[in-house]
Symmetry: D3
Subunit: 136 residues, 6 copies
């Protein structure tokens, strides 16, 4: 019997989509307003989903208090109220698109989640634009 | 051609997470505030998802009026404004974690849904904590 | 120039609507399923609204970090994961209807908010039932 | 590495569920209030999900600005503020149930989305009734 | 002591904005796509707010079960799954704009609500367009 | 007869809360993480509310298509995907707190709205922190 538990969290951050090896015009052509050199920002909403067998003693797949703390330590502490391009090492050479942020979060959490549990990450950049990644 | 239809419902209930064979200290250690002997409660939001071939005559996978009534009879009548630990027989010997409530709901509905239809249940205990189960 | 700042919080609690001086039948007649002697519960959503002049130096009517902590200390610590009837002194002799819970919260916060600021409290018992109170 | 990007859109439309080859009584028996000959309507919410490999240069699975425009051209222009039964050719001989609307949208978008990308469509007819289809 | 209780409800309806004494061109010029002669529709969300003194015995301003039934009888029964222009007598000579629908609802409910209670109606035509009316 | 019409819009922006005449330590003491020199950002949600008499011919207080365009021209064009501190002239000498942003938006819209109409602006910085201003 496999069940999925989901925990929702959020963080606010600034970012900019651009490639250093392209000039401003090409960046604007590809990334539009998102390439603004002065940055813009979002309230990111994050859903972390963990799938596995419930523990027989507790009825928990994973204690959601522990998942909440893990998300706090790995994601909120690292990203909240930050400029993703400037202050978050993972995005020094990686464009902080929603896709890439989701993959970075998945990679950070994957090492901390029990190995036989599946992991999926859904990241809302806005209420209308969101991405999901499950390590496939 | 397989399509999934989803119906959202809700119920309000009190519960407590604890094991009778553990003392209050151990229960508090594992279940935290959720082990409060005086109970606490939630507005549970439920999404029931049924997947199958649409009927050629009606265009319906399953008439959502019938699914709505089924959820009312099997879940809302049984759980709404109830104390899950005290008044719902399924939780006499089973801890009413979100995981276990989702499995109980899935089992109740499974027998009433057409056999060649797949069934998934998603249960929100709070807007930030939720679980899903599809009988695998 | 008067501006209103709003802060949203939440807590989960069990309650029961009944009068000790009425028998179970009369309680059921008036309060319906909400009078269930075994309790039921809700995810209460709370919006606290404070109106006043913004501070000239900071641009803040009231620092929302301080309002967040105040709500935590006065409301969440006192009500979250509690049985309102049994564990919260204010409801020993007062029926914990949404109306009365809102008034109790307003009274607790009023003494901690700057005197020349107006205060309003909105409390959602469910997404469809809610109340508001501004001390008038 | 496969990631899913999701874009949310909406449109308002009138519709009626009925079969021309059934009389009003049989239509009412099967489709209830939804068979009202004078039509009723909905604010449809649509989520389009595209799964594929992110582009190495841009970090995008699919540019969401392009997906937004595609949904505008294929779905909003065709369905918004329309009477689905009367004005949308696809429903001349097809009952505009949520299931069928989702399939029609999926078919329209499928030809415009890169072939090696997977496509899923979720359509909310109301906040409580919704369907999803992924072309299987 | 005056408290406001709010109850949320919803109904789905078709409508069209136009004046019989204007031709189609002028109607389109003023009402745009909303003047479509074939109708379009919405999921209307309604919030009814009643302000008054709580009853000393029950702690209720107004029993929300009674308010729920009143909204059902006066609004949902009359408007849900209807074509407002064709089937609802109040809109035979009145354009069913959100403003006018809100006033019609307010007038219908005003006669059924205790006289010393204030009444306000908020009507969402879409999540982005809504109106409120309090009889002033 | 006075009715309020509301229109919801949104924009994404970066900002930083700080006073140039304070050093970083004092800024951090007062504004906390919001003073981050590298900026952070938000998805701002905006509700603009206009109160007045409905037009006798159209049933509109104010055509919501015109209000939508006005918000687009005055707010979205000016703020969306911008760094409020660096790129928006109104915040050159004014801290972009939610309170101040709301007042700036109100002032911009006030000159464009019919004089005998009342105006209120509600601005969500996050789903839990928001402000409202009506020019009093």
């Amino acid at each position: 019997m496999r069940i999925t538990v989901h925990r929702k969290a959020h963080f606010n951050a600034a970012h900019r989509l651009y490639r250093k090896d392209w000039d401003d015009d090409r960046n604007f052509e590809v990334f539009g307003k998102c390439s603004n050199p002065h940055y813009h920002g979002h309230n990111y909403e994050l859903i972390v989903s963990v799938t596995g067998e419930p523990n027989l003693e507790t009825g928990f797949v994973m204690d959601l208090k522990i998942l909440k703390e893990l998300i706090y330590d790995e994601v909120e502490e690292a990203f909240d109220h930050k400029n993703l391009n400037v202050e978050v090492p993972e995005f020094k050479e990686l464009i902080p698109t929603a896709e890439n942020i989701a993959v970075v979060i998945w990679n950070k959490l994957r090492t901390k989640i029990q190995e036989d549990h599946d992991l999926e990450v859904t990241l809302y950049e806005t209420p209308r634009n969101f991405v999901s990644y499950k390590g496939e």
